[in-house]
């Protein structure tokens, strides 16, 4: 995949976030939530995968890519298990990333002191 487009598209998605912070007073938490939901909707429509084809990690690394993973996961689960997949797909798809974040977040908090943050 193309490194240049990963850089440009990934950078532009972050610029959208930055403009939302500067121009609308949306808090970072709300932006994260919105980006994941938007990514999930675009993923559900099958549009986000086209951006992934084009920009690779430029589309998968920003948080809309996380939403797209949820959408892809739920669609696959519905294909395999029907209605049950509706309630298993999203969580299954995010399991790996969230588990890594929890385990390492927990361990890092155990071994580091709040002071080290400043």
């Amino acid at each position: 995949m193309n490194l240049f487009w990963a850089f440009v598209i990934g950078g532009l998605i972050c610029v959208v976030g930055q403009l939302l912070i500067d121009l609308t007073k949306l808090t970072p938490a709300r932006i994260l939530v919105s980006f994941v939901v938007i990514g999930c909707i675009l993923g559900g429509l099958g549009w986000y995968d086209r951006l992934v084809e084009f920009a690779g990690a430029g589309a998968t690394v920003p948080l809309p890519g996380f939403g797209n993973v949820l959408a892809r996961g739920v669609r696959r689960a519905v294909d395999e298990r029907g209605l049950i997949g509706v309630v298993t797909g999203g969580f299954t798809a995010m399991a790996g990333g969230v588990t890594v974040a929890i385990v390492f977040g927990y361990l890092s908090a155990l071994v580091s002191s709040p002071k080290a943050k400043e």
Binding site: L3, D22, A55, A57, V61, A71, V74, A101, K117
Partner: protein
């Protein structure tokens, strides 16, 4: 924390008054370069992993995991916060920002206990992301289920 936060807001307001459009332009430029660089690093990791023989899905997952672990280590060392003050959304929007949002409050609230402090605060921002992400995935799944049949 609150003190520095309000100082920051006062400072931001002063900056905005002095040079509104150029400040916004510079913020966007910094977000672009830092966010783009994080994505480019992700792309490099991803292409190494697919060259080694991982499937695209697995390579995507491992790439995310590597970025998450790196961001958490940088958070513990206090470096991700510094990056954030420079890069704004450039460090918030990538998956590394999600990892930082889990680790930073966990470290900060550790002294309030391992359950109510560290573990609960871990999800101050990640929790809403997971909640709304899950809700969105259920809606997408339901629509897909009915459209498909």
């Amino acid at each position: 924390m609150n003190q520095t936060e309000s100082n920051k807001q006062v400072y931001d307001a002063m900056v905005k008054e002095a040079s509104p459009s150029s400040a916004i332009f510079m913020n966007s430029l910094r977000a672009f370069f830092v966010g783009g660089t994080i994505c480019a690093i992700g792309e490099i990791i991803h292409s190494i992993l697919t060259n080694v023989g991982l499937s695209r899905d697995d390579a995507g997952l491992v790439t995310g995991a590597v970025l998450i672990v790196t961001a958490i280590l940088l958070t513990a060392l206090g470096l991700y916060g510094k990056l954030g003050r420079f890069a704004g959304a450039g460090s918030i929007v990538p998956i590394t920002g999600f990892a930082n949002a889990i680790a930073a409050p966990a470290i900060e609230h550790k002294k309030e206990g391992l359950v109510i402090g560290l573990s609960a605060k871990m999800f101050v921002i990640a929790g809403p992301v997971i909640v709304y992400g899950t809700l969105a995935s259920v809606i997408v799944g339901l629509i897909y289920y009915f459209v498909r049949s």
